[in-house]
Symmetry: C2
Subunit: 321 residues, 2 copies
């Protein structure tokens, strides 16, 4: 059987999967990411894990249709080189595609993990295969990806879909990991919503359970979202403000690429409809009506498998005739 | 000789052109746009004008490789239907592609005029053929188009590239034709920069030559830009503010599609480097560094011919095998 190999490399585990050419997932499992020795075992571990599955599942690695790999960090899509994989202890430029091709004998295509999650969700998850979608992953940071006419947008330097770095907080209160201030990531990631709550606590003095957590240093994005759903005034006010910023970013995306589905993933999106209702409330009034007409804001459906699905889809788009 | 027919329909004139299959412009001319009788003569006039050129230039309309048409308003790219061509007195849905195919016997493709100008500039003008570009037309309104990997982005409802409706003025001082407030168009179009100058005049009381023009009702975007280049304090302050807003919009576009060239067209962009220097000053500090790295902000080069070039390019991309 001819299969597609898919791998999504993360800082602690690599998700691995085998797909048929119709993008049905046949088998999935994971291996630990060994970041020792500058991460030099990561790709060999992935290859060996595929080889170990070969007989068990009944396919041939060497005769597979192609391999798709997602990596955390900036990837040059054309040559499959990761430029700085900080979470993997990879330094400098790592030619993932050519290294994996050498190990496996299989044509390999590589993309940024957030891009692949977007493509996976668009094609096989919450986007239901509609051609135009955008994904925002509201996690530790804010990642994203843009799919237009069924294809990922990469852009001139591979920085397309960097939605977390759209400037939305014009007061520029919080510093971002990118070196700027005011990015969506500073007000809508797990850290970002805590930033807002702490700022509000300092300036507005709303005495609530969440305020106690701030004073005792026990606040997390999870306790904040739980408090909001319970009606804690400080938490609700924080989620409203974060939703406003997310809406501004989505509004800009709508005017630029007009996606039909806006897909929210990551830990902060676990609040689901509670969050979406608030985002909708701000999104519609500030968005060019033809660009928001018929647009659905939904939560992701594939969880941690999204990147694997995207990797398999990419193989189908670029490596299978 | 097999040629490409290109037409860019405007409210007062239609620009017509004949291109060879390498997108060399062989001949260009224009006809008046007859908006009488609900614009029912517009397409027949264009067809007759091509027929009249047939013998003169030495080509066959019927045997041409395809026709590309740009129209002002929202176009459904898939079926070539314009939905509301207000400037042409066209009401409701006008099936431009099928009507022109019936008249001419030539396969026809239709897109929004601002999109085609973007594609024309990207492929044959200021974008020098680089695959990823964005164009902003700072005219009576603010139009735009996004080219990614050499192809125009249309989006779910055809509203991609509606850059004029990115919200950038969070004080939302001025109403936009789209029904919202705070759009880029309200602060960076010809009307928009006058909006800013008048607002400043009311609130800041800077006594200058431009202030006199405001009081006498003689201010236009042209006199404003001239006054700015002469150092008029109110005008310079106005252009700085408009540049700031343009920079915010470009910054968002950069994080979404990461174009390598940002091309400015339209009357307001006639200020050229004077305007670009100001935009650059605000753009770089607020933009995700990997998304602004190597990005060039330039003025358009094809003037009123951009739409024709884009129409011809579209024929080449979609209708010629």
């Amino acid at each position: 059987m001819s299969v597609i190999l898919a791998a999504d490399i993360g800082g602690t585990t690599c998700k691995l999967g085998i797909f048929d050419k119709h993008l049905q997932l046949l088998e999935k499992w994971q291996v630990n990411t060994d970041i020792a020795n500058n991460g030099e075992n990561i790709l060999t571990d992935i290859h060996e894990s595929f080889m170990a599955k070969e007989r068990e599942v009944g396919f041939s690695v060497r005769e597979s249709l192609g391999a798709g790999i997602g990596a955390p960090g900036p990837v040059n899509f054309k040559d499959g080189v990761l430029n700085g994989g900080i979470n993997l202890n990879w330094e400098g430029r790592i030619p993932i595609a050519s290294r994996f091709e050498k190990l496996s004998g299989v044509s390999t295509i590589v993309d940024n993990d957030a891009n692949l999650a977007a493509l996976g969700e668009q094609s096989k998850g919450a986007g239901h295969g509609h051609a135009d979608a955008a994904m925002l992953t509201l996690g530790t940071g804010v990642g994203g990806g843009i799919v237009s006419d069924g294809m990922l947008i990469h852009g001139f330097g591979g920085a397309a879909g960097e939605i977390g770095h759209i400037m939305v907080d014009f007061k520029q209160r919080f510093s971002c990991n990118c070196g700027k201030k005011g990015c969506l990531e500073t007000v809508a990631s797990a850290t970002g919503i805590v930033n807002i709550a702490e700022f509000k606590h300092r300036h507005e003095n709303i005495e609530t359970k969440l305020a106690d957590q701030i004073e005792h240093g026990t606040i997390t994005s999870k306790t904040l979202m739980e408090a909001a759903e319970e009606g804690d005034a400080l938490a609700v006010s924080t989620v409203n403000e974060a939703s406003h910023y997310i809406a501004i970013a989505i509004s800009s995306i709508s005017a630029v690429t007009n996606p039909g589905y806006i897909i929210l993933g990551g830990g902060v999106s676990a609040a689901g409809q509670f969050l979406i209702d608030r985002i909708e409330k701000y999104y519609r009034p500030v968005t060019f009506p033809p660009a928001s007409e018929g647009v659905e804001i939904v939560t992701a459906e594939l969880g941690n498998d999204a990147g694997m699905y995207g990797a398999a889809k990419l193989v189908k788009q670029y490596l299978i005739q």
